[in-house]
Symmetry: C2
């Protein structure tokens, strides 16, 4: 059981990262208006959020700039249009996907960029490329984290081997990512134990990025907080792929550090989120996502089910069972 | 940390109680059609659910039978109309609220009734009446549980005194009830510790009834399972007052006892729940419920906010802060 004094007090090393534009962008092709992004930026500053992820550094030779909003690419000029010189305590983050980012060319020296943190996202079988990207970003002056995706169906020995390699890289933080929203809090606690061994050995921070397929994104995040994880991803109104993420408003309400403030998040949601939903973005807990989470499957079938406006949940369950 | 063998195996003493008609009835004035109730009964049997709560034993001198559906009163004849002699493994439960139930007259001998379990619901200041109701139901041959409501703002010493009194009563199970949806899993773990002391001393079972104001109803329920709580309340699609309850489909997916089966629950939700929503019933996580949960307040203000179709969340937050 967690110490009650730790529940009543707070840990200054905790950092909150707003991933609304990045994970949320997956449900609206990153088509956020400048007004929305600016309001989000101001809300994050007022709420005491530590990092704001603007989106992906997508490779323009792979992704058509006509088909996505600017947060798919996160050009330095685009970010500057929103944040100017960003003379605030809020740091700017971007995600760089292994295999989908021309990192050598598209990530410039930090001294020339408004970006502070590069988040390298990798699957277990891509670790050497992830290390190359980490080294590249670090040499350019950035803080760097690494998100190992889809760990819920990885063998522990593979995960340990990956963490040992990443531990020897110059990465600052290692992220536990429950891509399928399939992990229960007890499993998060075990996962943290595995990560912690390497975090302590190599002096790295730990982070968590959760999905809400089983209504556990917030629960898994605060489980991880209690286990010593410091970097916490959340999105406003839980906006994110499929069932969405840990809701920023829940997380800010939970955290005890007086620098965090839930009220700006509530205001932002009230003022900005209805238009996003009206424009057609769909996310949040629903039965189809519960089922892929339960079966520890990628949510792509549930996303397709949602797009087709299907409601034959029992038929869907039989379909995805057949894919087991 | 919970033992991994316990996560992989199962505890045969766990019981699942379907509270859809009772807690869900609070959002539609208990107006469930016989077809709905019969389908729910059959679904519970197929899903391996242990108890089905039909509703309240409401006092007809207090509540107008014209203004509520039959599940507000749970006459024996009404239940029999649905379940016949109920020659199944599914037991029938009703809730008897302290001060709102003419228990001496309206609860008949078990030998004359289709009911198996009487659930006495009480606030801390009503314990002597609760004990009288427990003794009455026990003397009539029922299994009896006691739900102590609104414990999240109770002093621990008061709660301990109540548990010591209830422990000496013939009650079978003591329920942890997070009426306001304000407790975090760590607090549930501490609450279980308090209850456990008296459960062990007096040989009682423990139960949990959670609310989803902070998206923690399922998380708190499985936290309690891991801590040794055996009787678990859930409702289909989480239907219940305000933010609703622990979702049956999540709970059945989590439990490992082969007698439980999530598929009938999915079928029931698909076939029966859309009509209930179309008839006007509103429940589930929303920001106003998050806020009352966060502030450990009764959800009545959030329910009123919902009824008025208000969406000025930040104004609402200021209103309920002013009531602190």
């Amino acid at each position: 059981m967690k110490e009650i004094s730790k529940l009543m007090g707070y840990r200054a090393s905790i950092k909150v990262l707003d991933a609304t534009l990045r994970d949320g962008g997956l449900v609206n092709d990153f088509r956020f208006s400048d007004d929305f992004v600016r309001a989000l930026y101001l809300s994050n500053i007022r709420a005491g959020v530590d990092y704001m992820e603007f989106g992906y550094k997508g490779d323009k030779s792979m992704f058509d700039v006509e088909k996505f909003g600017p947060c798919k690419f996160c050009d330095d000029d685009y970010i500057r249009r929103i944040v100017g010189e960003n003379n605030t305590d809020l740091k700017i983050a971007v995600m760089a996907d292994v295999g989908r980012c021309d990192y050598k060319n598209d990530i410039h020296d930090r001294s020339d960029s408004p970006i502070d943190l590069v988040r390298v996202a990798t699957y277990l079988h891509q670790i050497p490329t992830a290390v190359s990207m980490i080294e590249d970003a670090k040499s350019k002056g950035y803080e760097v984290s690494c998100n190992i995706m889809a760990i819920s169906n990885a063998r522990e020995s593979d995960l340990q081997a990956a963490l040992d390699i990443l531990g020897q890289s110059p990465v600052d933080a290692l992220y536990i990512v429950d891509s399928f929203g399939s992990l229960y809090p007890e499993q998060i606690a075990r996962m943290v134990n595995i990560y912690k061994e390497f975090a302590e050995k190599y002096d790295k921070k730990l982070g968590i990025h959760a999905h809400n397929n089983q209504q556990l994104a917030f629960a898994n995040t605060i489980e991880a907080v209690g286990d010593g994880v410091d970097w916490l991803d959340a999105t406003y109104a839980g906006m994110g792929r499929g069932a969405g993420n840990c809701a920023m408003e829940l997380l800010l309400g939970f955290l005890k550090n007086p620098k965090y403030n839930v009220y700006p998040a509530i205001q932002f949601i009230e003022e900005q989120m209805p238009a996003v939903r009206e424009a057609g973005a769909v996310w949040g807990y629903d039965f189809q996502y519960m089922m892929t989470g339960l079966l520890n499957q990628h949510p792509r079938t549930a996303i397709e089910f949602t797009k087709q406006n299907r409601t034959d949940y029992s038929e869907f369950y039989k379909e995805i069972l057949a894919q087991e």
